[in-house]
């Protein structure tokens, strides 16, 4: 069984594996998101309080969840690369960063659009959106640190360390923002607490969540191939790949 795990550390194997996995993951994602959209937009009943505006949750919740798990994946992959000096770890971390950042932006966009009908303004410093905004700053910090080094190897290791420091701070930031929000505005503000959802509303959300996760996996594989090539440009197997393509 361990052989499978060791093979994951060899760049040529990962390069080919990513090429095989990507279409399946993206195909699965298309199916789930397709079903989720249709079911969520058409068949799910409107919310008694927020009416049809609640349907934004089908995009907001998955992207918010993904933005956080992508950061965690980036920190774990970077940690593997830093501690066991496995280059693939850094390649995965470098690939995950822009995808996670794009979902953070999506979560912020959908969050503020959802806030408009509820609070009358696009940005009401809701604790969850504020943590999402700080998460975006953390993403930008890690990505700009990685690109600030000429030597990609050192850029990877520095970004991995910053991601680890960041992932330790994410829960701290989350709870301190909650504390800050409850201190000044009190808990009466309509929070994002997911309304206890009946099945007809819940299934589309779960399928959208699964679809977004599959999509993340698929795009990660695509981007990972580029990252692996950039880091292995000098090795012989890359020459075969170049000659073949």
């Amino acid at each position: 069984m361990w052989n499978w795990f060791y093979k994951l550390a060899s760049p040529p194997y990962v390069y080919r594996l990513a090429a095989v996995l990507a279409p399946w993951l993206l195909g699965g994602a298309a199916l789930c998101i397709g079903y989720g959209l249709v079911d969520g937009l058409v068949f799910a009943p409107p919310d008694y309080q927020q009416g049809d505006a609640f349907r934004i949750i089908y995009v907001h919740a998955p992207s918010a969840w993904l933005s956080l798990s992508a950061y965690t994946l980036m920190a774990v992959a970077g940690g593997i690369g830093l501690i066991w000096r496995i280059k693939i770890g850094h390649a995965v971390a470098a690939a995950a960063a822009p995808i996670g950042a794009s979902f953070t932006v999506l979560a912020l966009l959908t969050g503020s659009l959802w806030g408009r009908p509820m609070w009358g303004t696009y940005w009401a410093w809701d604790p969850r959106l504020t943590s999402e905004l700080i998460l975006l700053f953390l993403y930008v910090g890690v990505m700009s640190l990685r690109s600030a080094f000429e030597d990609p190897g050192r850029g990877d290791r520095a970004a991995a360390l910053l991601a680890i420091v960041g992932v330790i701070n994410v829960p701290i930031i989350h709870y301190s923002v909650q504390w800050w929000n409850s201190l000044h505005q009190g808990a009466t503000v309509a929070k994002f607490a997911r309304p206890s959802m009946p099945g007809s509303m819940l299934w589309p959300l779960l399928s959208m969540l699964l679809g977004f996760m599959l999509f993340f996996g698929g795009v990660l594989c695509l981007r990972l191939r580029g990252e692996v090539l950039n880091r292995e440009r000098q090795s012989s197997w890359v020459r075969e790949v170049v000659r073949a393509s």
Partner: protein, 205 residues
Amino acid sequence: MNSGAALSLDQVHVWRGDRHVLRGVSLQLRAGELLQISGPNGTGKTTLLRVMCGLLRPEQGRVSWCGEAITEIREQYQALLAYASHEPALKGDLTALENLRFSVGLKRRVSAGDLTAALACTGVEACADLPARVLSAGQRRRVAMARVLAMRARVWLLDEPFTNLDAAGAELITRLLREHVERGGLGAVVAHHALDGLRRLELQA
């Protein structure tokens, strides 16, 4: 001191971005052996020195001291080591004596007398109380050499110690290297002109 190789490198590979700077360097150094590293610019002489002192960790290969990998015994190994980089590495605002006190003092308990003696040994006793920024490049090189002396290290790793030195300075450094070898010390020196009685390692482009 066992007769086995004290400091050994085994198939060390280092890449600087896309350049394969060190290609499978292997060498063994016993007590009383000093290696001269020479070769055209940019062939990795300084990189090799930094690998030997544990600052730079090679992508492949192993550096070991008395059989143990230096990554395991980092502090003990570096305690026995004196590294003089290409720049003399002195704080401009501190006097020569203070520079020595704050760097050698971290390695071993040392008195002002020892430090002044080391400075005298390299001929810069007069500028013990002058800030390093007013010293000439040659004087600064001599203060850096005094620091290497005061550390009483078993391993000397010197990066072009002869730069900015006049004839007397070059002769002084050669004498100090010989005394270091006679005391059973070992190490590596990056230098271009021929040093008699030293093993040579020529790095190719």
